[in-house]
């Protein structure tokens, strides 16, 4: 047996196993009378190790997909999970043994899902390292690690699965684990309240998504996403139920991705969650954007008229998110809440880029600027995760030192926390789109491609970028400049500085080599997303 053939299920199984080992480990350490410092390294170390292993497996699969330019699939419960095509390469999942259609659950990895899963696994690993020092409640560290690992399972599963019901299951795992993590500082009533609100909207969202899946299953009798795409494509015209399902899918995942006006849970959850959790919450937003894009492009992208209207819906949500997010950020005086509103604003850029691509899908304009707009949206997603993750970690470092997030109670931190200040500056410059930082390159790609679609959209995007800069000038001025803060004389521990340094270096590196990243990483992902037929062929046979 070649272990590498089974990386796809192991990507889920390893963090899942580690999550369930945590309570056992806790009991064992208590019986062995291991002190809090030792327990911290053992429990935290196990989490880091599990997530490092997961990251390495995800990177290996990603390399394979990008190198071979082939979609990877894994069929659970099959004799040969990775080899289901016949000798001539044409026998596929719809053969007689399967009853005429794909029965089993699939994991499917194309460039787009590999791109998202790599980012998710990478940030989850960094969050676990950061949490080694950040989480001080040793008694409950096991719970934290358990939930962090489960959340990683959920967000990776959302991006790997090729099955609609499976997607619902992973969506719920992500939602429940993240609610638990948001409520982790349980002595803060605000944290518990934020978690409850997040749980409520997640549950309603999950149920509406499940309703949509049920409506599709009732009509077409399959849950396999590729096969569902085939079934929808065979219809002379979409039924009203199909259209309702599209509405439910777009509404639900746009809400989970923090699109305005369904974003209200975001500032609550992002602000109250511990900093490493916020980092992983960013990736769960990304997983929701992934699901939103994947479902719309794959299932409905083949119906031009519907895809174009969906594109306009994306653009409208994107514009609202960009503008409302940044204007709300300007008036915040809670550091993390301010950053949460900027997250909403940045999601708007991604929706705009993806929306323009969708609005011209299947037309000549798609090759002219649609693909570039989608690449811009995905490139911005990558940059967003790097610099926004960095900014949230710097906010966490400030909170770690002073136990406050109020800008009016901060000031002069640059004297005692020079590295954190430098990292904050890098993140702030990148999110504000200052050249040559990474945010500029992705925004430029969006500006220029979207301009060809409608210049007004670019104008709004540029104004939002200027307001983002204004907002971060305020934060820098309030928190880091001024007389030295009497309570801050030393930097945060190395385990917190290292993840920030890694993210800062990557932000700089991506900014300095944008063409490399776009050509080799982002554009193949955008092409895979737009190419629904390729996905179907890759899963159901006939080659990618």
């Amino acid at each position: 047996m070649n272990l590498a053939d089974h990386y796809l299920p192991l990507i889920i199984a390893v963090p899942l196993m580690a999550a369930f080992l945590q309570p056992l480990l806790h009991t064992l350490l208590q019986r062995m009378k291991v002190g809090p410092e030792g327990a911290r390294w053992v429990k935290g170390g196990l989490t880091c190790l599990a997530l490092l292993l997961t990251l390495l497996m995800v990177l290996s699969v990603t390399y394979e997909v990008y190198d071979t330019d082939q979609i990877q699939t894994y069929q659970f419960g099959a004799d040969e999970p990775t080899q289901y095509s016949g000798a001539d390469g044409t026998v596929n999942l719809t053969d007689s043994k399967q009853g005429g259609f794909p029965l089993r659950i699939f994991f499917v990895v194309d460039h787009f899902s590999a791109f998202g899963a790599s980012l998710g696994a990478f940030l989850a690993f960094l969050a676990s390292v950061y949490a080694l020092s950040y989480i001080r409640d040793e008694e409950r560290r096991g719970w934290f690690s358990n939930l962090l690992l489960l959340m990683t399972v959920g967000l990776l599963g959302m991006q790997l699965t090729g099955d609609l019901f499976n997607l619902f299951v992973f969506l719920e795992i992500t939602g429940i684990a993240s609610c638990g993590l948001v409520a982790f500082p349980r002595r803060r009533i605000e944290a518990v309240e934020a978690a409850f609100k997040y749980l409520a909207v997640s549950v309603v969202g999950g149920l509406l998504f499940l309703l949509g899946v049920g409506l599709l299953y009732g009509q077409y009798g399959t849950l396999n996403m590729a096969f569902m795409a085939v079934k929808l494509g065979e219809q002379a015209a979409l039924t009203n139920l199909d259209k309702i399902v599209l509405g439910l899918f777009v509404g639900t995942f746009a809400m989970k991705a923090s699109a305005v006006p369904m974003h209200m849970w975001t500032p609550d959850a992002y602000a109250e969650a511990p900093a490493p959790v916020t980092l992983v919450l960013l990736t769960s937003t990304m997983a929701s954007l992934y699901a939103l894009s994947r479902l719309v492009f794959l299932l409905y992208g083949q119906i031009d008229e519907m895809a174009h209207v969906a594109g306009y819906v994306f653009i409208a949500l994107g514009l609202l998110s960009m503008f409302v997010g940044v204007t709300m950020a300007l008036i915040q005086h809670d550091l993390k809440r301010l950053m949460a509103y900027h997250s909403i604003s940045q999601v708007g850029y991604m929706l705009l880029g993806l929306g323009v691509g969708l609005a011209v899908l299947g037309t000549d304009e798609f090759d002219d600027y649609g693909l570039a707009a989608m690449s811009g949206g995905l490139f911005h997603l990558l940059n967003y995760l790097l610099y926004k993750g960095l900014l949230f970690l710097t906010a966490g470092a400030v909170f770690y030192k002073l136990r406050t997030r109020e800008l009016s109670e901060l000031g002069g931190l640059a004297h005692g926390m020079p590295y954190t200040t430098l990292f904050f500056l890098i993140g702030a410059a990148a999110i504000s789109g200052i050249p040559p930082f990474s945010g500029f390159a992705s925004k430029l790609l969006i500006y220029e491609s979207v301009y060809q679609f409608n210049p007004l959209l670019t104008a709004v995007a540029m104004v939002v970028s200027i307001m983002t800069l204004a907002s971060f000038v305020k934060v820098f001025y309030s928190a880091f400049l001024g007389q030295p803060h009497p309570e801050v004389t030393r930097e945060v521990p190395m385990t917190m500085l290292t993840p920030m340094a890694v993210l800062a270096l990557l932000t700089l590196a991506v900014g300095l080599a944008p063409d490399f990243v776009v050509t080799y990483l982002v554009e193949p992902a955008a092409q895979a997303l737009a190419n629904g037929a390729g996905y179907v062929a890759g899963v159901l046979g006939g080659g990618a």
Binding site: K243, G247, V250, P261, M264, M306, V324, P435, A513
Partner: protein, 115 residues
């Protein structure tokens, strides 16, 4: 994949972007600024109005300006907009669910209207 790929100019479809060329430009700009600075009179001390922070042509107040006050003019000009926005962000869970369901209903109605 070669090392030179890292230095490639990014094609945006209707333009190009090279961070290295930009950094070269910044370096030249710094050089010009440095030369101009060197051409000035050494030992000039900013006193009186010259030493004060610029405050839109007004005399700055004695106390330290807070971060919240930096964009007072902007938020004041958009007073009505912000009032409505604050109402929208009530913190009430029922509002969260209302906006989610309303938006989903509107989106669904739009899709139902597509032929």
């Amino acid at each position: 994949m070669q090392f030179e790929d890292l230095l490639e100019v990014m094609d945006t479809g209707s333009g190009v972007w090279s961070p290295l060329v930009f950094l070269g430009g910044v370096l030249i700009a710094f050089l010009v600024v440095f030369i101009i600075m060197k051409m000035g009179h050494p030992g000039v001390v900013a006193t009186g109005r010259k030493g004060m922070p610029f405050f839109s042509g007004n005399v700055p107040p004695d106390q330290r300006m807070k971060g919240d006050q930096l964009y007072w003019g902007f938020t004041e000009a958009l007073h009505t907009y912000y009032e409505r926005l604050r109402l929208l962000h009530s913190g009430d869970l029922r509002d969260y669910l209302f906006w989610y369901l309303l938006t989903t209903a509107i989106i669904t109605a739009i899709f139902l209207g597509v032929e």
